[in-house]
Amino acid sequence: MKDEAGMPSPSNPLKDATGLGAFINEPVLELRRAPVRASLTAALEELDGRLPLRVPVLVGGERGADAGFESTDPAVPERVVAQAGRATESHVAEAVAAAGRGAREWGARSAIERAVVLVRAAAALRGRRLELAALMVRECAKPWPEADADVCEAIDFLEYYAREALLLEHGPALLQVPGERNTMGYVPRGVVAVISPWNFPLAIPTGMVAAGLATGNAVVLKPAEQSPGCALALVEALHGVGLPPEALSLLPGFGEVGAALVRDPGVHTIAFTGSGAVGLDIVRAAAETPDGQGHVKRVVAEMGGKNCVIVDSDADLDEVVPALVDSAFGFAGQKCSAASRVLVHEAVHDELLERLTGAVEVLAVGPAERFGTDVPPVIDREAVERVAGYVEGAGRSGRVAIRGQVPDGGWYCPPTVACDLEPDAPVLSEEVFGPLLTVERASGVDAACGAIERLPFALTGGLFSRSPATVARVAARLPLGNLYVNRGITGAMVGRQPFGGNRRSGIGAKAGGPDYLLQFTETRVMTENTMRHGLVVE
């Protein structure tokens, strides 16, 4: 399909079967325009005047305590961004009980009624998008372009799942033979526990919450302790547009709240995004079926990755270098999709390493609020120490090719490139989740594929090659959830790049894709006998 300007126009599978209009991705802000930047700076100033925000425990619409712990600005740790109530185990029990009631009310509504609520919540977020981006700048040190993209992705999840849920209202067609009528349909599972991370403090909780709600479930949200402020914005948006209060509760708090939520027998589905260790704990805990629990819990888990990029000898290094820098150091490498290992064909290894090192040397490390910052601080002190540990280890089992400069104060971590590593160096197999990239020499694309196959992770990965045969071979071989060819490996878009890992990187269908919602439903099939006294009566 071509439009009037001769450019291929996107074909849209969701084209208006829904009455809500076709889904399109929310446009990100055009930050290259000075007035747009000025509007963001103004929004941040306005937000700063209101800090700290107060985030209550919110159970069934009842506002509980809002003083228990604080989230702080990673660039200026003394600055308190939000003051949040600390949910307890009894809050968990109350919230799940409320959700049980909420699920009955919400699940009884038609899919279109539910979809309209989600679309309205998207509009509410859209109306606050500058302020929400500013909040991410403060609470998570997410630089403007990424913070803005995070808000857009949250809006996308609401809009996309609203439409997808409508498509699920009528189940797929089944084989029919004379004398019987077969139908299949989807119903909500009940209560969804959502446990979300801080690195996409709005988009990821929104995605998991929206999926649960779109399919008629009630949700209890336990956001990361580092970003309660962003989570509150989501809950407010939904409660403000007609979601029954009991259908969504907010439990700010730490790990023990999440653990209690996972164990609660009233929870049917657990949607989790976070570390592999916690994810596997959840899978184990969810397998328990205590007396009185009349169901087996389902877990949808998005866990870590060790994302590798293969660079073949025919790659265009002019494209490789910026794509790698962006994928490895954008948001200080704190994306589950971030690049952490590069496997380079030996013919171009030295040249790429030299250019990459030089490119990392000039990266600007600084606060997220400053336009022009390439690498913001990491989330907290623990992250600084973890990354420093890996850098030290890389120095012992290889060579640190470049380590950038950092400003004083704040949880800054110098962007680092390491090379010449021993094959068994831990940094080659463990997730670092910070601004550290390792570069390895590979004898060829097939050897590089072998190294990737040996990893337990299989989230994202990249290939730079200008040979169609190589692209096809690598795509067929690698087990990755998301393979990106000749581009950066982060920035999956809802509806365009459904996102999620395979192997130890995750269980469940891809977020932002057409099969994600099924996980939040139960399937029912009905077969009706249409023979009466030897006659087919249909």
Binding site: A5, R32, D316, T357, G358, G372, R466
Partner: protein, 457 residues
């Protein structure tokens, strides 16, 4: 036909009549044939571009042949000749032969656009151009700049080019039309510079970062151009670089040490929807500036059309460029008029105004209609021919350049210098331009009549 159109048509027909016959350039005619084939079949075109693009990265002839075969594999309808060529790709000697042929073909194409591997190597061509009546602007091709060293290296190459060209240009014969206009002398040496090559810190959302870094490398180049009496032209790239580029040029040229020189210029891209405001800004700056030499403005349509549209669509933005070719063409004419009209008028007695012009105008295009419009408007408003410069790209506008020179007008040929690897991005862009359906050259190649070619957009 309005009065202006009549004059325009006459100018256009004269220019067209002055074009050398293609039959006298058999090699170019052959090239044109290949281009024409590519412009008719989108898949073939894609295969050709991918081949050209990958050539410098291929390690051997076998490697090149393998890539070629894979690209051709994806073309549904293959011309006979290509089909035959692919059959030999199944054996190693066949591949070597095929790879050698492809490498020769690509090198040949590159030579059409790239005048030499280094300024030294380019001197022969540049001197010949000058003798035939065409000035030049040299553009140093390079890989993208990501590091300080790369930016320093590019700046050093620019510095060296200024030096080498100045020495050589000293012995070129006098060419009155190329060396002065009514505002004064025009430098023989003219270098085009890209800001994105002068800094690794181009950040579209933080123009000041790149500006500050690039300034440290552009300033010494301006000094050097001043010492040597050369002209420095700052090219315009994609919209992401526009703020950085304009702010940088305005800021540096306003520094006191450059108030008397060197001669310098910027580029205005007519395909930008807001190019009218860009021109306002240039004029405003020129009026306010205490600088003596007039700023040269090279008017172009814009070379990053596909990039701007794709980038905007990917992000859900309204493209910053016009989406109908005729709108770019019309805007080009509008901006041409505004640029020419910005110059001081002759007084009632027909004497040139004593005030220095704010700007010098250079109109860069291969579109005979666009050029004829500029020439005609200049004449119709009492301008002198020598106060309008016309510019063409080496490899695309060679014949046109000859025709312009033969018509007694000043022409400057933009001449890329550099090796094949570094020149690839440039080469691919030019090929794309030459074979796109919308392009004037494409239309001309397909044999459109001069009436159609000169019709108002």
């Amino acid at each position: 036909m309005p009065h202006g159109e009549e004059l325009l048509t006459r100018v256009g027909r004269d220019l067209h009549a002055a074009l050398p016959s293609p039959s006298r350039h058999p090699i170019k005619a052959l090239d044109a044939k290949g281009m024409e084939l590519a412009s008719r079949d989108a898949e073939l075109r894609a295969a050709l571009f991918r081949l050209v693009d990958v050539t410098p990265a291929c390690r051997s002839l076998d490697d090149l042949a393998r890539h070629l075969a894979e690209y051709v594999e994806e073309v549904d309808e293959r011309p006979q000749a290509l089909e035959a060529a692919m059959r030999v790709a199944h054996t190693a000697p066949g591949r070597r032969a095929l790879g050698a042929a492809a490498a020769t073909g690509v090198r040949h194409m590159a030579h059409r656009f790239i005048v030499g591997e280094s300024p030294q190597a380019a001197l022969g061509v540049l001197g010949d151009l000058w003798k035939e009546g065409s000035a030049c602007s040299v553009d140093l091709l390079g890989e993208a700049t990501f590091t300080r060293e790369e930016a320093d290296r590019y700046a050093a190459r620019c510095d060296e080019a200024l030096e080498v060209l100045s020495v050589a240009a000293g012995s070129w014969p006098g060419r009155h039309l190329l060396e002065a206009d009514s505002a004064g002398p025009l430098p023989r040496v003219n270098l085009s510079v890209k800001v994105s090559a002068l800094t690794p810190l181009m950040r579209p959302d933080a123009p000041h970062v790149g500006r500050e870094d690039a300034a440290q490398r552009l300033r010494p180049l301006l000094r050097r151009a001043q010492d040597l009496g050369a002209h420095l032209h700052i090219d315009m790239e994609s919209l992401d670089a526009l703020e950085t580029t304009m702010e940088l040029v305005f800021e540096l040229l306003d520094e006191p040490e450059f108030s008397d020189g060197p001669s310098a210029g910027v580029v205005l891209q007519a395909y930008l929807r807001d190019s009218g405001q860009q021109l306002d800004r240039i004029l405003e700056w020129a009026r306010a500036s205490a600088r003596r030499p007039p700023l040269t403005v090279r008017l172009v349509k814009g070379a990053y059309w596909d990039h701007e549209v794709v980038e905007a669509r990917r992000h859900g933005w309204t493209p910053p460029v016009f989406e109908v070719k005729a709108e770019s063409d019309r805007n080009f004419e509008e901006l041409t008029r505004r640029l020419l009209d910005s110059r001081p008028r002759k007084d009632e007695a027909g004497m040139p105004s004593p005030s220095n012009p704010l700007l010098r105008v250079a109109v860069a295009s291969h579109n005979i209609r666009s050029l004829a419009h500029a020439i005609a408007h200049n004449r119709a408003t009492g301008g002198e021919d020598r106060d309008l410069e016309l510019q063409v790209l080496r490899g695309l506008g060679d014949e046109l350049g000859i025709a312009i020179a033969a018509s007694g007008l000043r022409v400057r040929s933009y001449c890329p210098v550099g090796d094949l690897v570094a020149g690839m991005a440039y080469l691919v862009r030019r090929l794309l331009e030459n074979t796109s359906n919308d392009s004037f050259l494409g239309e001309q190649q397909r044999g459109a009549s001069i009436e159609d070619l000169l019709a108002a957009p």
